[in-house]
Point group: C2
Chain length 176, copies 2
């Protein structure tokens, strides 16, 4: 792994744990064991760096979603939930775009449409698999998973994410 890839890896980790304003080029330089000017060589501005991160993150997510071969709504929910579950169980991290979306008013403008697109990526993938193909139902799953990461981190309870995915599936099968 070359330094450019290392920078991307560390930057992703920083954003997903501390947010966009929670790290500096010098932090990245120290982790990568190069100088901060060399970080700027690979990514002239912080905005450039984060654009690159969101783009590869979105592509990775898209590829994973396309690898789906289940059948039921519950299968689809579990498939999407796996991304969030791994995020928290390995690394204790937020979703990159979920974190950035919460801080959205403090971000460079170019990032904003990319965050909206990422959310639509997940919702639009999920919708055809949902009961009655309800759009709001697909949104609800994504919202629940993004929120589950917040709760899991606040409470130091990584198992919460999987529990929320199951709670959603269960809620569809009990009638109150």
């Amino acid at each position: 792994m070359n330094n450019k890839e290392k920078i991307l890896g560390f930057a992703e980790e920083y954003i997903r744990t501390k947010g966009y304003h929670g790290f500096s080029f010098r932090d990245l330089a120290m982790r990568t064991e190069i100088k901060s000017a060399s970080v700027h060589y690979h990514f002239p501005t912080k905005e450039d760096l984060v654009v690159a991160l969101i783009d590869t993150y979105s592509k990775r997510t898209s590829l994973f979603l396309e690898s789906y071969n289940g059948e039921t709504e519950a299968d689809a929910v579990r498939h999407l939930a796996k991304i969030f579950d791994l995020s928290i169980t390995e690394g204790g991290q937020m979703c990159l775009c979920g974190m950035l979306a919460s801080e959205i008013d403090g971000l460079p403008e170019v990032l904003k449409p990319k965050l909206a697109a990422f959310m639509d990526l997940m919702i639009d993938w999920l919708q055809p698999h949902m009961a009655n193909q309800q759009h709001s139902r697909a949104e609800a799953v994504v919202a629940t998973l993004e929120g589950a990461l917040i709760l899991a981190r606040a409470k130091g309870d990584p198992a919460l994410v999987k529990r929320m995915a199951n709670a959603f599936i269960d809620a569809a099968n009990i009638s109150t």
Copy 2:
């Protein structure tokens, strides 16, 4: 409203839109039209300021929850959802503690137990009103609402939060 209260108000707005690291004492000073040293007079450190914010925010939330006089699970969900709905429709803001929880790894240690307590405040209030008093079901509602704020901001769609509350209620009444 005195300057101390103004500072608290502006700081809350900053955190709920840009995050803990998304504003400075000078930002607060400019908004309040005093000098940054005077902000430090009221709140010696940023940590002190945010402790005060979380405490009053938690108390406010607790008081609102206790004002509940509904009956059904759906009523309770709507009651809690009102907090989140107002947060996004007025001000376009995150939940203070939801925002901080996402950035938790970049925060002073003293804040962390307070964030966990805030989440439990909502979950523990909600649980007795839920079907079978299921704890995971109460967690799911809170997760959905916290996540709904993220989605609403990412997509610039404030109506999403109320839609998610209704989606949760509907999901309990249809059998797939």
